[in-house]
């Protein structure tokens, strides 16, 4: 029986008049790769931001391991040290080299010795295949390389869980693969991950659980084969049809569906 790393209970988030998240509950077990899918403006990114407390929630509770991180008096800066986050637009620190981007967290936040932090950062850069770009500044890296450095930066904090907010949406198509490969490798190594993505190939092959969200609600969740081939709800089927049409792998789907039937 795997431990539960992240537990979200009845979380709601309201911006002004709009309820962006409505009573969301979700559980992520150790080593699981949970993929959140759904139309834009559905609250997927907001949910990630609520998990690491970059956005405060209006009601509900969130636990990381056995600590309720939404309890009053909890130090949010400390909570974030244990939750890695990767953003759609990379957000590398522009004035720092790739190596310094990865080192700055361990050195400044964890107070790690500089030499040790450098070794650790080089290890993380190797993990994402960029040890030869250690001295490059963000402006000298391709989008795919930037995102891999951003992943290394998050990994350097040795997080309990990694959150990915549409990590490939800002990338040129030919650069998406290298980022997905790194994420797939992390998943295989047993990293616990929550991923918001429109990459259905990744969702189908790497996810342990897929959560379909729409209009601030969890419509349906389940194993990839259930969600993709036997969705319980019409809305899930419609969304998957639309998005696979967009990404041009309908033929695949049709074949698979016939196989399943």
């Amino acid at each position: 029986m795997k431990n539960t790393i992240l537990r979200i209970e009845n979380v709601s988030k309201i911006y002004g008049e709009t309820e962006v998240l409505k009573d969301i509950s979700l559980e992520v077990k150790e080593g699981d790769n949970v993929v959140l899918i759904g139309p834009s403006g559905t609250g997927k990114s907001t949910l990630l931001r609520c998990i690491n407390q970059l956005t405060s929630i209006n009601s509900g509770r969130i636990w990381l391991d056995d600590e309720e991180i939404t309890a009053p008096g909890v130090n949010h800066d400390q909570v974030r040290q244990h939750i890695g986050m990767v953003f759609q637009d990379f957000l590398l620190f522009n004035h720092l080299t790739a190596l310094d981007n990865v080192m700055v967290g361990p050195v400044r936040v964890l107070g790690m010795d500089k030499e040790k932090a450098r070794e650790h950062a080089m290890y993380e850069l190797k993990r994402v295949g960029l040890e030869d770009r250690a001295g490059h500044y963000p402006g000298q890296l391709s989008g795919g390389q930037k995102q891999r450095v951003a992943i290394a930066r998050a990994l350097a904090m040795d997080p309990r869980i990694m959150l990915f907010d549409e990590p490939t949406s800002a990338l040129d198509p030919e650069l998406i693969g290298e980022v997905l490969e790194v994420m797939e490798k992390l998943a295989k190594e047993g990293m616990t991950m929550v991923v918001v993505t429109h990459e259905m190939g990744f969702a189908r092959e790497v996810a342990d659980k897929i959560v379909f969200m729409e209009k601030g609600l969890v419509v349906e969740e389940g194993a990839p084969k259930d969600i993709f081939y036997k969705p319980k709800f019409e809305r899930t089927r419609e969304f998957l049809w639309k998005i696979t049409e967009l990404y041009g792998d309908h033929d695949d789907d049709d074949d698979d569906e016939e196989d399943e039937d």
Binding site: N52, D77, G84, L91, N94, V104, Y137, Q140, A154
Partner: protein, 213 residues
Amino acid sequence: MALFDIVVYILEGVGITIAVTLVALPLGLVLGIVFALLRIYGGKVLSSLAAVYSTVMRGLPPIVLLFILYFIIAGSINIEPFWAGSISLAIISSSYQMEIFRGAVLSVGQGQEMAARAIGMSRMQGIRYIILPQALRLAIPPWSNEAATVVKDSSLVYALGVAEVLRRAQFVGARTYQPLMAFSIAALIYFGLVFLTSRGLSILEEKTRIPAF
């Protein structure tokens, strides 16, 4: 009095002119950064106070402010005109520098702060290690403008009787009946100082540039 003597007499004031600038500019820098951070991160009350400070200070002629501040400062503590004048110039400059740094911090962008918070940095750590290093670089070009202004405005303390370049030029010009000559020499000196300041800051801008950014 020969031309040489006039030049030497005025040049003896250069040290004071530079000293006034070297007090006013760095002190204005520190105050400017603090006020800019209060304006952006200070919450409702402090932010509004900083905004009012900036609006009022920038809405008055420097020479008027200089007299007012001088009489406030000199009236409350026993202090030489040099110090009172330099500190007054620093306060005036701080309101302009505040706007320079505010613009620079805002143009670094909220994304950078969010990324800093996401790896567990506190707001202060994010400002110190991520926002300011970038904002200070962005501020160099507009700041060199303000540096030139402060070099030139250092001449205002002549009105307080401080024996800097302009004061000496006026004095020697009146005594020798060669005011045009005297003021022209002063002009050359100010131009030289401003020119060197701008060049120095261009070099700093070049040296601190982030590659490919």
